[in-house]
């Protein structure tokens, strides 16, 4: 169920049927999360509730994903966003704008832009969990209780100086190996984004976060709540789903 919706890769939330063992090594915690993200395909529907100052805007979307590598998201509402599609294959992100009937491949600084006016950036979406273990050094920096759950606090520091989020603090549920909270920092130490998991549901034997809030701290009075309203695991995906042709299809 890797990559149900792109959000998962930001925070590498995971599902675990294992009970916690006493783990002290931070890298091992990360690996455990990764190991638990073994699922083939998934289909999800959901909405993003963007709150800016006094305004609240709801955007509905559907998403199909295969593993960690491929995903296809389509926006269903509001009217001006309907038909906007995002295709992700590995690290390549392409977006289709129905108003212009054009496809744009996102690169460089564009990946750091707000996605569909939300607190999420495109980069947040393309990021894969594997990247975290390759590009960061992890250290177990403590244990803390988040929403009555015992958590490991893992601190990641980037090996690359140019990383958007140079430091990350992740609170990982000790039993379920699921990130419950994450703070993302710039190299200067400035807090850029805060993610919190508000609700977790159990699907068959899996734990899955269905309500996540992300706050872009650089935008005044802004937060985005992501709610998964429906999710099916191990679905059949028609061939050609993850293609440019599918982006153009009306």
């Amino acid at each position: 169920m890797k990559k149900i919706s792109w959000i998962l890769f930001v925070v590498f939330l995971s599902i675990s049927v294992n009970f916690s063992q006493s783990l002290s090594d931070a890298m091992e915690i990360l690996e455990r999360i990764d190991q638990n993200m073994v699922y083939k395909t998934a289909y999800a529907e959901g909405e993003m509730i963007i709150t800016i100052k006094n305004r609240k805007i709801t955007k509905r979307f559907s998403s199909i994903a295969r593993g960690n590598e491929e995903s296809f998201i389509e926006f269903l509402s509001p009217a001006r966003d309907r038909g906007t599609k995002i295709l992700k294959i590995e690290d390549i992100v392409k977006i289709y704008y129905p108003s212009a009937e054009r496809i744009l491949r996102l690169s460089g600084h564009m990946l750091r832009q707000s996605m569909m006016g939300s607190d999420f950036s495109f980069e947040d979406m393309t990021e894969r969990s594997i990247k975290l273990r390759e590009e960061y050094t992890a250290e177990l920096t403590g244990e803390e209780t988040i929403k009555d759950r015992l958590c490991y606090q893992v601190t990641l520091v980037s090996k690359k100086p140019k990383q958007t989020y140079f430091t990350r603090k992740i609170w990982v549920d000790k039993e379920r190996f699921l990130g419950l909270k994450e703070e993302l920092y710039a190299k200067s130490g400035k807090l850029l984004k805060v993610m919190t998991v508000n609700e977790i549901k159990t699907y068959k034997r899996r734990f899955y976060p269905v309500k996540i809030t992300l706050e872009d701290k650089l935008r005044a009075h802004s937060k985005t709540e992501m709610i998964i309203t429906r999710i099916d695991f191990d679905v059949l995906i028609p061939s050609g789903t993850f293609s440019e042709r599918n982006l153009l299809k009306k």
């Binding site: 800016i52 001006r80 966003d81 704008y97 108003s99 212009a100 996102l106 460089g108 006016g117």
Partner: protein, 422 residues
């Protein structure tokens, strides 16, 4: 006797041509430098004010209070509504030349694999052009058309994207309801104004396409109002405030006369800084004139002694030296005035290619206002000429006061004792 004194003085200055030429040169150069420096400085200042009024603020600018407060980030959502009615009512006021409507927002531009962030400006091409004068700055292709998906883009921006006229550029933005919207535009033309603020960051699209992109109906970010008499801006602004209060009670719009623009308000300060530089130029010019005049009189002690021995009174010697300085001062100032005026007038017309002078340095300066353009034009006026000529004459006279007094006091015997110099 007085007449003879002047005649004598006139003859005296032509007796030693080399010395006269030297003092004349000092005065000519001094007056010339003052005229050109002052014209050049006024040119920069009035040019900057003019360009800001022409391209950015009009004589009056109406915008939402929050838009003005956050203008640096161009907040899309703070708009002026009911603009059709407002425009009608403002146009009916006396002394209005034109009302310009504008939408201004951040966009992402995409061409091939290149993307750039830029500022898109929605305008009515024909109506705006009287003041914006962009059609004159088109270096490739043609000016913006009233309707259709076409745009004109700054030369540096086009270069960075590697696009040319006729090619298609994708514009992407977030509208006022935070939806993403994109439209493909065809490049009608490329402009080069010489101001990097415009050439590097801006593109212009038809107003209605800008409104479509933002999904904001006929609302606007700015209304620029141009008056027949810029001096009446405060008076007209009060009238517009009355219209707004009646038409849209409880609004948060501001009407700002051009004099209240922060950069225009800064101009007197910039002016005084430049005047200090001018003061230094004048001081040096004065010093050079003083020095040469002093030398010219000092080396004539012997000769003055002879005149005194022939029966000249102290007063007569004093006025003779002063008269000589007066002649030289007038001739030098007039020559310097003519040369300085000629160069200033030329630079006023043709301009100095600042970019060529600075060898690309100017390209690296990224000012938020069109202050230094590629070309700098002087602003010569008759007052500058008169002022400089009077300065030249007065300084010359002042310079000889002391030596003239000294030579008048001198006894002939003492004068003969000083070495003879020719």
């Amino acid at each position: 006797m007085t007449m003879n004194l002047f005649k004598l003085a006139w003859r005296n200055i032509w007796r030693n041509k080399r010395r006269t030429f030297l003092t004349l040169t000092a005065i000519v150069v001094g007056v010339f430098a003052i005229i050109f420096a002052k014209s050049y400085i006024s040119g920069i200042l009035s040019g900057a004010s003019n360009t800001i009024v022409r391209t950015q603020i009009g004589h009056l600018r109406i915008a939402h209070g929050e838009y003005l407060r956050l203008e640096r980030v161009l907040p899309k959502e703070y708009l002026i509504n009911g603009t059709a009615r407002l425009e009608q009512q403002i146009s009916r006021l006396k002394g209005i030349d034109s009302v310009i409507k504008r939408i201004k927002f951040n966009v992402l531009l995409s061409y091939g694999n290149n993307t750039e962030a830029a500022v898109a400006m929605g305008i009515n091409p024909e109506r705006s052009d009287k003041f914006l004068e962009l059609s004159k700055s088109i270096v490739e292709g043609e000016y913006l058309k009233e309707s259709g998906l076409n745009l004109i883009i700054g030369k540096k921006l086009a270069k960075e994207l590697q696009v040319g006229v006729g090619e298609e550029l994708l514009l992407i933005t977030t509208d006022i309801n935070y939806s993403t919207y994109a439209l493909p535009f065809k490049i009608a033309g490329i402009f080069e104004t010489g101001y990097s603020t415009f050439d590097r960051h801006l593109l212009y699209i038809p107003l209605n396409k800008a409104q479509e992109m933002l999904d904001c109906g006929d609302s606007l970010h700015e209304m620029l109002i141009y008056l027949n008499d810029p001096g009446r801006s405060f008076e007209v602004s009060r009238k517009i405030e009355v219209i707004l209060a009646v038409d849209q009670p409880g609004h948060d719009y501001r009407v700002i006369p051009w004099q209240q623009n922060e950069f225009i308000e800064l101009m007197p300060l910039v002016d005084s800084i430049y005047n200090i530089i001018l003061g230094i130029v004048m001081f040096i010019a004065g010093l050079v004139i003083l020095n040469t005049m002093l030398m010219a009189v000092m080396e004539r002690y012997h000769e003055i002694g002879v005149i005194k021995a022939l029966g000249f009174k102290n007063r007569e010697v004093f006025f003779m030296v002063l008269a000589e300085a007066f002649y030289i001062g007038i001739i030098g100032s007039i020559i310097g005035g003519i040369l300085g005026s000629a160069l200033s007038a030329y630079v006023e017309k043709v301009g100095i290619d600042f970019a060529a002078f600075s060898q690309g340095m100017i390209d690296k300066i990224d000012l938020p206002v069109p202050f230094y353009g590629r070309f700098v034009y002087a602003d010569f006026s008759f007052q500058i000429l008169i002022g400089a000529v009077i300065f030249g004459i007065v300084v010359t006279l002042l310079a000889v006061l002391y030596p003239a007094f000294k030579s008048a006091q001198m006894s002939p015997v003492e004068a003969f004792r000083t070495e003879l110099k020719v």
